[in-house]
Symmetry: C2
Subunit: 499 residues, 2 copies
């Protein structure tokens, strides 16, 4: 009997996934191929399907089924985990009133347009009242969802299930205690040469190089494709159709290269989920932080390593004759330039975390009520001065640079740092488990690493929580020390710091 | 009060359209960009959305709303027409039992695979039992739907609302009485030269020429795009997003040219519907026959005319140097080669109608029970011998060439001929209303014709039936004589027949 119920549950989740993946197709097309005038109706079509998917996800039938299954005892361990995860999600989304969902959707839609206008005008005051309203709704949301210690935890959980602000406080205390000083040590040294990066790079050759890099990583083009989009992203319609996009700027080859590897890392995770678990928690990524660990691991731990460019620099040189005189070591150093800057998405892999820390501190303050939305530009400027030592020139390059808050995404930013920190911890373990990992990479063989990721991470989906997975892999929960060790070894060498 | 109900009705239809257009996006992607292994889950996603759209379309709420609105009397004329059309459709689809819909879907899914296998193997016997089952279900369907005179009418109505087999019988009697003889007259004459068509034509240059031709027709690339697909088609996600696809074969430039113009004609119809009528009958094409009239008018009446190539041949020559020695008149004649052949989709615009007539006679016989599915190859061969004078070499080039029956599409084929016949009648009227139409076309100006089509046909959607529209435009219902007059004038000239 229970198996029949479990089959019903699987069928219902599969249908919900069909709708949500269809929404993803509509989005993908909107970002890649849609003709100019088709956008308006497309937004309406996406809204209609989203409404249908939401109704399916909160249906009483599904709720009853989940409760029944959860109370039964004829399920396998993995089946139990799936049901428990689904029930947790169901209870969470049904805690939000329909009124709230509609109000938030309307508010963020207006906030997004206001943010856009404010950014163009470099004037935060245009966005401020909308930000205030978004924060107020998100505070209400935290109360509806409930929490033990801090209201921020209720919001964080949507992006990083099980993560707590108490833990983030500790992590960012480590960042402050160790990384701020380390970056200052680097700043005192001579800057690495990077003028050869500021050239013009043929677009077609960039595209071809990107495809080569994806192929080398083991990205399966029978289960995906790359297209051009204004803001690179990865999307999946099943584990057998995982697509990446890239942007190509003739003046900025770095942008294409590491965005391509980054999205490729996300895509390998999705391609590594088991297609048989379509629609189930076991067939879905654990959290944004774990997702980001996969993109960052490939982008930074691999894609900005000396070994990686030992393998790939001759390909790059063959495609761009203007790089003929540059040597591999110089290129390796240039792609690891560390320099405080204003824009998060353009920052290096060390100072990046100051950008996140600032956003985290602000978000937490907004949600607990210790910061008022109207004061953000001043607080922003003050924190950038204090952590990065730079004076923010305007709101566009400051508090208005990111779209997230206008979407109501509060609690999202920390997952970016979590991603890098998990990546360092996972990569350290992979290097232990594969003694010649660096040699493999230097020889252009990335498949040993991919197999390790598949086996240790990808295949499980949500059968483990982020913390369980981290302990399973490395024997301990997330520990910032791995990142710091990686940073010290790599950048100490590049910048000639004493160990 | 009634207006509030009408708004509800519009909102419901708009939502149904959102879902059905989303399905169209999933299909479009499946035919253009999907990676190989993504196809299986995509089929499932399409099935799920189709089920949702169907549930919405047969919902009791919608039915009640339609009955209430139809009985009320505070609507405008156009609102009344919309409601009446929606109610008619609602009553029709709710006549089919859920059992039947599911059974048909399963049967045709198997039949399609069997057809594919049978075609590969050139062996109809593999497909025969499936065809028998499809026919049996379609006969049941005709009984469920109901009809006055002939069960075939019930099926025909799904593709060509209001059309009757009694009328088709008359049309095809005219085809037999006049067109068969005329084609024999042509066959007795010397064949036009066409060897210069059998060359290799650069693919990129073909693509560019196709884009030029679409642009010249007035196809709006801000509301659409062209992509490559194995079987060219047109699809629309709103009047503001209407996409065409084409196939490019280096060895067959004719294929690209007239397929491009044909799909362009379909697309102009969809782009000419009013976006404000999104989801309503007034925002939807009348019937397949009227749709096909738009593609055929552009493909044949325009795109195979002397004037058209006076405008465009120099562009073609500039793109294909191997055509430098060919003159416009020779090219015009070559693209109007008339020659009996086996494959419907590759036939000329005259013998094409024999292919349709044969399918129509067979379909009617299957549905009334006078023909048994197992006998199709013999009947097929006999009719091709009799109407086209050719011996069918195998089942693949005969009875298995078309996919339609395996999909359960019985009643569809006649709309292809109706399209050509309507096209001739409409074009004759356009030529009366625009005295210098031929000169405009010869000068490369197609926009006068497009404006005429927009004004007389496109803007109305289903506010008129096919017959009402035809009478409104030309003063009489569909009359085969227009096609025959067009054929005699054009081909009499090309082949030097006495008038």
């Amino acid at each position: 009997m229970s198996n029949k119920l479990y089959d019903q549950y699987k069928a219902q989740l599969s249908k919900i996934s069909d709708v949500s993946h269809s929404i993803a197709v509509l989005h993908w097309d909107k970002e890649t191929y849609i003709p100019k005038k088709g956008i308006q109706r497309r937004a309406q079509q996406i809204a209609t399907l989203s409404g249908i998917a939401h109704e399916m996800a909160i249906s009483k039938d599904l709720g009853n089924l989940l409760v029944q299954l959860n109370e039964g005892n004829s399920l396998t361990e993995n089946e139990k985990k799936n049901v428990a995860q689904s029930l947790k999600l169901y209870q969470k989304i049904t805690k939000l009133s329909k009124d709230h969902v509609i109000k938030l959707s309307k508010t963020t839609s207006k906030a997004f347009h206001a943010w856009h206008k404010a950014k163009e005008a470099e004037d935060y005051s245009i966005f401020a009242p909308h930000m205030k309203e978004v924060v107020s709704l998100k505070r209400e949301e935290a109360e509806m969802l409930g929490y033990d210690d801090h209201p921020y935890d209720a919001l964080l959980d949507a992006y990083e299930a099980g993560e707590k602000s108490a833990n983030l406080d500790k992590l960012f205390a480590d960042v402050k205690a160790q990384l701020v000083d380390f970056v200052q040590e680097i700043a005192a040294k001579d800057q690495v040469a990077h003028d050869f990066m500021d050239q013009s790079f043929d677009k077609d050759a960039q595209w071809d190089l990107g495809i080569d890099l994806l192929q080398q990583m083991g990205y399966d083009f029978d289960k995906g494709r790359q297209d051009i989009a204004p803001h690179p992203f990865t999307t999946n319609f099943s584990a057998d159709d995982v697509r990446v996009t890239t942007r190509i700027d003739e003046k900025n080859i770095a942008n294409m290269i590491w965005s391509c590897i980054h999205e490729g890392g996300h895509a390998l995770y999705e391609q590594g989920l088991l297609n048989e678990n379509y629609g189930l928690p076991a067939g879905s990524a654990i959290s944004l932080g774990i997702h980001e660990s996969q993109s960052r691991l490939w982008e930074n731990n691999v894609g900005r390593s000396r070994a990686y460019w030992q393998a790939n620099f001759s390909n790059l040189q063959a495609r761009f004759p203007q790089m003929a005189e540059v040597d591999t070591e110089a290129f390796y150093k240039a792609c690891n330039l560390v320099k405080p800057s204003f824009i998060r998405t353009e920052s290096d892999e060390l100072t990046y975390h100051f950008h996140i820390m600032i956003r985290y501190e602000i978000e937490k303050g907004l949600i607990e009520g210790s910061i008022d939305a109207k004061d953000l530009p001043e607080i922003w400027a003050q924190k950038y001065k204090s952590y990065l030592g730079i004076e923010v020139p305007n709101h566009k390059m400051g508090v208005l640079q990111d779209v997230h808050w206008s979407h109501g995404s509060i609690g999202y930013f920390p997952t970016y740092s979590l991603g890098s920190f998990y990546a360092a911890q996972f990569y350290a373990q992979a290097a232990k488990d594969i003694p010649d990992l660096e040699e493999q990479i230097a020889a252009g063989n990335m498949l040993g690493l991919l197999a390790w990721l598949r086996e240790n991470i990808h295949q499980y989906g949500q059968l483990y929580t982020a913390e369980e997975l981290c302990v399973k892999i490395s024997g301990e929960p997330l520990n910032f020390q791995y990142f710091m060790d990686y940073a010290r070894a790599k950048y100490g060498d590049i910048y000639g710091l004493s160990a």
